[in-house]
């Protein structure tokens, strides 16, 4: 599938010349930075909360606003990381390492300015790679049959191990739980109702948006109630909005390298901005002429982590748009936003709604520019937002969550579903069961099941059909390799942690 420059030019016109779209993007970016700056609230939560409210608007407006939240949220996390040593989002965790010491030295403005510039550059590079690469990936995917789609879903599910956090077994259990949830409701082939126990509202399965809001917004609110009462007052003075030329010159190689790392990591389903930021930070330290200075507050460190996590958003959009497989938790929620608009991401989207795809490309690029403007103008306001009391925020976000879950089908049952999943999500989070595998399983489960069953019916129950097409076999091998690599990586990390603990205890004894 060839890239259409003319259509991209037209799409920029659609986005930039329509004040409704521009307003939505700016609202999204401002909301995203605010949500990102507030510790405990993530971009995933922001997008999940607002998806149901956008279905009455045209696709370009609603997707523009959600992409604005995505881009803004990724940058917003750095503000609290630098000012109060608490990353606003998981993706900004690595920014604390260099950003906070800079703030302590009285260079908070310099660190924030670099975070903004690096986020903008990384976001633009990621968005441009997404724009030019995803049509080609979609072109290949257009040749896929049931077997390849099943293999693709399996490949997507194989990353559950890499996003399992501290325990692989709990990650796998969460994934299996999610897959079982995805089988609730009418069977995709025979129409037989499964596990609904007389509850007709479950005929189509647990509704996606209320489930998402429950797992990612309400569960997070419950966790926040436990951490209430701690409100940081910002002491730092912010007198700089954009980085100096000298800082840009010093950090540019790291920004470019980290943007490429971020986009690549983002394109791997399941790997998010946090992984991209830490990988880039490690690479910046490894390739530096003065690695010993890392950790003391180096502007290059902030540049590396922030460009990587923002580039990750463009990367994560590639599999979403071209294959229908989300790259991270935010794009998983965005998948729901596309469905709400009657659009199914994947190769067919390029055939049937090419104009929407190009509008998304243009909106993503414009959202990054909007982030630079809003970030520079509003940095003092966002720094003040961090001090907002959680006791006020929690009830407000809670109301938004319930309104959001109701809005889609106007069914009170969806509110109950949201609360139920909120409780399940809270318990899981509290006892270190990761939530992302459930999300991945809920999205990829139906895709895997429908295509596996169709393949089985077509072949009369012959399992060999799954290994009859080269691309499918390639994807399955890739999936297995990914799983094995993740297990080894996990074991290596565990071993290092054990060694560190051992040397720590020996040090204490001495």
């Amino acid at each position: 599938m060839d890239f259409d420059f003319g259509l991209l030019y037209h799409s920029f016109g659609n986005v930039m010349l329509d004040w409704h779209v521009m307003l939505m993007i700016f609202i999204g970016v401002t909301g995203g930075i605010t949500i990102g700056a507030l510790p405990g609230l993530t971009a995933t939560m922001g997008v999940a909360l607002l998806v149901p409210f956008t279905f009455g608007r045209p696709p370009v407006e609603s997707l523009g606003m959600l992409l604005g939240i995505y881009c803004g949220g990724m940058y917003g996390g750095s503000i609290s990381a630098i000012l109060i040593r608490t990353p606003g989002t998981p993706a900004a965790a690595a920014t604390v390492l260099e950003g906070y010491p800079m703030g302590q030295r009285g260079e908070a403005g310099r660190a924030l300015a670099m975070a903004l510039f690096a986020s903008f550059t990384g976001g633009m590079i990621g968005a441009l790679i997404m724009t030019f690469l995803s049509p080609y990936v979609a072109g290949v995917a257009l040749e896929f049959s049931y077997v390849e789609y099943f293999a693709l879903a399996l490949f997507g599910l194989s990353v559950i191990i890499s996003i399992s956090g501290t325990s692989i077994i709990k990650g796998v259990m969460a994934g299996l739980f999610g897959l079982l949830l995805s089988t609730i409701g009418m069977d995709p082939i025979s129409g037989f109702p499964r596990f609904i126990y007389g509850q007709m509202d479950l005929m189509e399965g647990p509704a996606f948006i209320p489930t998402l809001i429950g797992l990612f917004a309400v569960a997070e609110l419950f966790s926040n109630i436990e951490k209430m009462g701690v409100t940081e007052k910002i002491q730092a003075k912010i007198g700089q909005y954009l980085p100096s030329w000298a800082d840009i010159k010093t950090s540019m190689p790291n920004i470019l390298k980290s943007s490429l790392i971020g986009t690549t990591v983002g394109a791997i389903p399941g790997a998010g901005g946090d992984i991209a930021a830490f990988v880039s930070y490690a690479e910046a330290k490894r390739s530096s002429n003065h690695p010993e200075k890392f950790g003391t507050g180096l502007v290059e460190g902030v540049a590396a982590t922030e460009s990587a996590n923002n580039a990750c958003s463009g990367g994560a959009m590639i599999p979403l748009l071209s294959l229908g497989v989300p790259g991270d938790s935010v794009t998983a929620v965005l998948l729901g936003a596309f469905i709400v608009q009657g659009l199914q991401p994947g190769p067919l989207l390029y055939k049937e709604h090419m104009d929407v795809v190009y509008n998304v490309f243009a909106a993503m690029i414009v959202a990054n520019v909007a982030m630079l403007i809003v970030g520079a103008v509003g940095v003092r306001f966002f720094a003040r937002v961090i001090g907002m009391q959680k006791e006020i925020l929690i009830p407000v976000i809670f109301i938004l969550s319930l309104c959001g879950s109701y809005a889609m089908r106007q069914n009170v049952f969806d509110i109950y579903l949201t609360i139920g999943f909120g409780v399940v999500g809270y318990i899981m989070q509290r006892y270190h069961y990761p939530l992302s595998p459930i999300l991945l399983a809920l999205i990829l489960g139906p895709m895997a099941e429908a295509n596996l069953r169709r393949s089985m019916v077509v072949s009369g129950g012959d399992w060999h059909i799954l290994f009859s097409r080269p691309i499918a076999v390639g994807l399955m091998i890739l999936g297995v390799a990914f799983m094995v690599a993740s297990v080894f990586n996990h074991k290596r990390i565990e071993k290092r942690l054990a060694e560190a603990r051992l040397s720590g205890s020996e040090g204490t004894t001495e």
Binding site: I169, S190, F192, I225, E226, I399, L452, M456, G461
Partner: protein, 159 residues
């Protein structure tokens, strides 16, 4: 990191029971629908439930290896005792009750603005967020904004 072996022990038992129920259900589906197992709507869920049973058993085994059955039970009972006595859990429980009243009793019966105002003011009072006057003002602002933005601009129906 917080030790939670006893919780792994309890969750693994709960998940083993859940997977057994699902395996039985899937078998029933197969019998009800008939035909070959590969075409049955119960095939994939059964496979998944078996895998969940297996992984839950692994977690169960690990928790016993680390703590033993007796200590897991004692730890869980001790944790439960502390949980019921702690101030935070009592506050959370009260918050949960208000939430349940709002969701199951107020939302289906009262207009959105009224149920939401009652919920927000009571929750902010329990969380000791601000004075009553301030919480009334904040509530009015939030409810008004939700009406304005979502119902007027986005045309989204509210509960």
């Amino acid at each position: 990191m917080e030790k939670h072996t006893h919780f792994d022990f309890i969750t693994s038992i709960a998940l083993m029971l859940l997977s057994l129920v699902m395996i039985v259900d899937c078998y029933r589906i197969w019998i009800d629908v008939g035909g070959e197992i590969y075409a049955s709507p119960g095939m994939l869920p059964m496979l998944l439930a078996i895998l969940l049973l297996f992984t839950s058993f692994l977690l169960f085994k690990r928790s016993i290896r680390l703590n033993g059955i007796g200590k897991n039970f004692t730890d869980f009972t001790a944790w439960f005792g502390c949980f019921t006595k702690s101030k935070l859990s009592r506050e959370m429980l009260l918050g949960g009750v208000i939430l349940a009243i709002y969701t199951f009793a107020l939302v289906p019966r009262l207009p959105f603005w009224m149920s939401t105002s009652i919920f927000m003011i009571s929750l902010m009072t329990i969380l000791k967020a601000v004075s009553i006057v301030k919480s009334v003002l904040i509530t009015a602002l939030v409810v008004g904004s939700i009406y304005g933005v979502f119902q007027m601009i986005f045309h989204v129906p509210l509960p």
